[in-house]
């Protein structure tokens, strides 16, 4: 091994090292993800169950065109994406910036508090949100005491407010999670850069947009892609907060796919076809992101 390396030029040696470094992870992904994906694609061209699968071409994909509930779920999911992701990410950067201040006391405690929601078990979090937004729940009693409402409003029982609850829940749960990446990313920015900016008379808002955001760009791109991916595959909230209701107005694509496999009479071919549509949508959005934002200056 060593004698072989000696013969290589320095550049070649480095290139070999690079490929070696990324090999284990890439091979694992190829086996654990890509191979099953290829198999899933084959399944998406088939109908039937278990051993009785038969090829039917693209008919599962054609089925999507006439499936009104799935189309509704696409609309719901994109609604969540457009509203929730920007709010959440801006809030997360803002919090990271505030919590990165060396003069701030108790910052460890604050950071932990903000992170707590995503560490809270899904079961309890959904139970708590359902109970808070119930017709006789906490939110309603507060609103009634403040005189905003006269009688309890069934938040989860109306499509508009149920969607709003899901978005609130998502922001509540994932802002702290995204803040973690920004906090870690902020450590790579020299503190002196801020000091210099301060001397130049830039206020907090200006430093935020002119220094923090540009320097965090790689992290922002990453969290954006992760959030798009996470939202388009959103499942937990739809299942646990609203069960997709009322009348399928909050159901997400992944929830519908899951139902197709495990709640309803199993139809794995169709589920795989819908999954590939989700895959294509995420991929397109993610690569627009990478193309636009992920540049090395």
């Amino acid at each position: 091994m060593n004698s072989k390396k000696k013969g290589m030029s320095l550049i070649a040696k480095q290139r070999a090292a690079g490929w070696t470094f990324l090999a284990p992870a890439s091979i694992l992904i190829a086996i654990m993800s890509f191979y099953p994906m290829v198999r899933a694609f084959i399944i998406s061209l088939q109908k039937g169950t278990g051993a009785n699968m038969r090829f039917t071409g693209f008919s599962n994909y054609q089925r999507i065109l006439v499936d009104k509930v799935f189309q509704q779920s696409i609309g719901n999911t994109f609604f969540y994406l457009i509203i929730q992701v920007p709010i959440m990410l801006i809030l997360a950067i803002l919090l990271a910036q505030l919590l990165n201040n060396k003069h701030l006391k108790l910052r460890g405690l604050f950071r932990t508090c903000v992170f707590l929601p995503c560490a809270t078990s899904l079961v309890s979090y959904s139970l708590i949100f359902r109970s808070m937004f119930a017709t006789d729940g906490l939110i309603n009693s507060i609103l009634m005491k403040l005189g905003i409402l006269h009688s309890g409003y069934n938040f989860l029982g109306h499509s508009g407010s149920a969607k709003a609850v899901i978005i609130l829940a998502l922001i509540w749960r994932w802002t702290g999670y995204n803040m973690v990446f920004y906090l870690a990313g902020l450590q790579n920015i020299e503190y002196s850069v801020y000091e210099a900016a301060k001397i130049d008379g830039a206020n907090g808002w200006k430093t935020f947009w002119r220094i923090t955001v540009p320097l965090l760009k790689p992290t922002i791109i990453m969290t954006f892609i992760m959030s798009i991916n996470g939202t388009l595959q959103l499942f937990d909230e739809s299942v646990n907060l609203t069960k997709g209701g009322p009348a399928n107005t909050t159901i997400t694509m992944s929830h519908y796919v899951y139902n197709t496999c495990f709640i309803n009479v199993p139809n794995f071919g169709y589920a795989a076809a819908m999954s590939f549509l989700i895959f294509i949508m995420v991929a397109i959005l993610a690569f627009i992101n990478l193309k636009v934002g992920d540049t090395r200056d």
Binding site: V69, S131, D136, K243, G245, P246, A247
Partner: protein, 444 residues
């Protein structure tokens, strides 16, 4: 210092991963004490041991463990291992394994919701064992109960948990409004609606609670008429189905007149009971477990039959909601033992049913059990009513109806239609949409 620690940590991780991977290749016990057997087989190859999937420690699991104890008296070497698996997880695991064509992870015996069995039988007919000739007198179980686990006159499951529908009412609230439990016994839904409106006006309470999404009320209504939202040919049957339309009418009227409180999920459903907001509940008799856990309402509840649908010849006061049966999987290496175990406990022993009743409140589908003294004992919580024998009696009257593998699809479509009608969609449009969606889901 820290640098060294991290390096050491990473080095140990690499060693560990090598050990783990190496272990995986040669001996799958490599992951510590976490694996049962090298081949990944879950069902027991040991000739005296059975593995079971079931859920609910206080109910199903306690019941089958009691059965095992009883069976051990005559078969001292017998062993039973219960793997607690929720009903949802059971479906996920079964579906994945069956679709992958690998039954080796399945246990010997599995408990399954009656409403989901037909879909498994349709999709994976060879995953379960035909039990027709195991020596049980099948007519000891109610006709309807048998039919859940039957296909083409063959029996695949031993019915266990009774799902007979009961109506439970708060007698104190009824009294406040000037009614007694007799006024609500053997009534029709329109009479129920009248009383319910009155009760709501006088007390502010609701005579019925129902889940808006995924609720069972509509299913109970139509099945009490011996009908369903699908027909014998396996087609969606909502539009043009007179009984279905009547049920939809009744239900929307109940919602619009504040007789029924529409809740969004199971927790809210339970809350209406514990909060005292519900003056009545119509559900499978297993709901008594939840009701009885609200200690301070002791003596204030009574049970009776559910209302019947107006203007339908086949209407009855009896239906079934939920409940479950035991199935023997195709992976069972010890079919004779599994059959004998189920036969001598769940299939024939009134002693067994007498033993589990006080412990679990699990009410049998096994009709002879209802005649025993234990079943006829008065229940303190329910005003000294002998609720157990009453429920067993109800379960013998439930009419049969057309089964469909698409139970959950039908339920979802009809609930969606009702929500839309309540929100102002014209009834004909909403039902047409339900019909179309259900028919779409029933074709591949």
């Amino acid at each position: 210092m820290k640098k060294k620690m991290i390096t050491a940590l990473l080095a140990s991780a690499m060693v560990l991963s090598l050990v783990a991977c190496g272990g995986g290749g040669t001996d799958s016990n490599g992951g510590g004490d976490t694996s049962s057997s090298g081949s990944g087989t879950s069902s027991s190859s040991d000739s005296n041991k059975l593995t079971v999937w079931a859920w609910d420690q206080n109910f199903n699991i306690k019941a089958i463990e009691t059965a095992a104890e009883q069976y051990k008296k005559d078969h001292p070497d017998f062993e039973l291992e219960v793997v607690e698996t929720s009903s949802d997880d059971c479906q996920t695991k079964l579906t994945t394994a069956a679709n992958a064509g690998d039954y080796s992870t399945l246990p010997d015996i599995v408990l399954m919701q009656d409403n989901s069995y037909q879909k498994f039988l349709k999709s994976y007919p060879d995953a379960f064992t035909d039990l027709t000739d195991m020596g049980i007198n099948w007519d000891d179980f109610g006709k309807l109960k048998q039919s859940y686990s039957m296909v083409d006159d063959k029996h695949y499951g031993v019915p266990f948990d009774n799902g007979a529908v009961i109506a439970c009412y708060r007698t104190d609230i009824l009294k406040e409004a000037g009614y007694t439990i007799d006024d609500l016994t053997d009534i029709t839904w329109s009479e129920f609606a009248k009383i319910g409106k009155d009760v709501h006006d006088k007390t502010g309470k609701y005579l019925l609670t129902s889940e808006g999404t995924g609720g069972d009320t509509m299913m109970m209504m139509i099945q009490s008429c011996g009908a369903n939202f699908v027909n014998e040919n396996g087609d969606a049957y909502i539009v043009g189905n007179d009984i279905a339309e009547k049920c939809v009418d009744i239900y929307t009227e109940l919602v619009q007149n504040d007789v029924v409180k529409l809740v969004n999920n199971w927790d809210e459903y339970v809350s209406t009971i514990t909060n005292g907001e519900a003056a009545g509940v119509v559900n499978g008799n297993w709901i008594t477990a939840t009701i009885a856990s609200t200690e301070d309402q002791k003596g204030q509840w009574a049970i009776t039959t559910m209302p019947s649908v107006d203007g339908v010849d086949s209407a009855t006061h009896y239906a079934n909601n939920g409940g479950s049966s035991w199935y023997v999987t195709a992976n069972c290496q010890n079919k004779d033992l599994a059959e004998d175990f189920l036969k001598s406990t769940f299939g024939s022993s009134t002693d067994f049913y007498d033993a589990i009743l006080p412990q679990t409140g699990a009410i049998a589908c096994y009709l002879p059990a209802g005649e025993s003294d234990v079943y006829n004992e008065p229940n303190e919580f329910f005003n000294d009513q002998p609720i157990y024998s009453t429920i067993v009696e109800y379960s013998s009257h439930i009419p049969e109806f057309t089964k469909t593998p698409y139970h959950y699809e039908a339920r979802e479509c009809i609930n969606t239609a009702v929500v839309n009608i309540v929100n102002g969609t014209a009834k004909a449009d909403a039902l047409q949409e339900a019909q179309d969606t259900l028919q779409f889901k029933m074709t591949e």
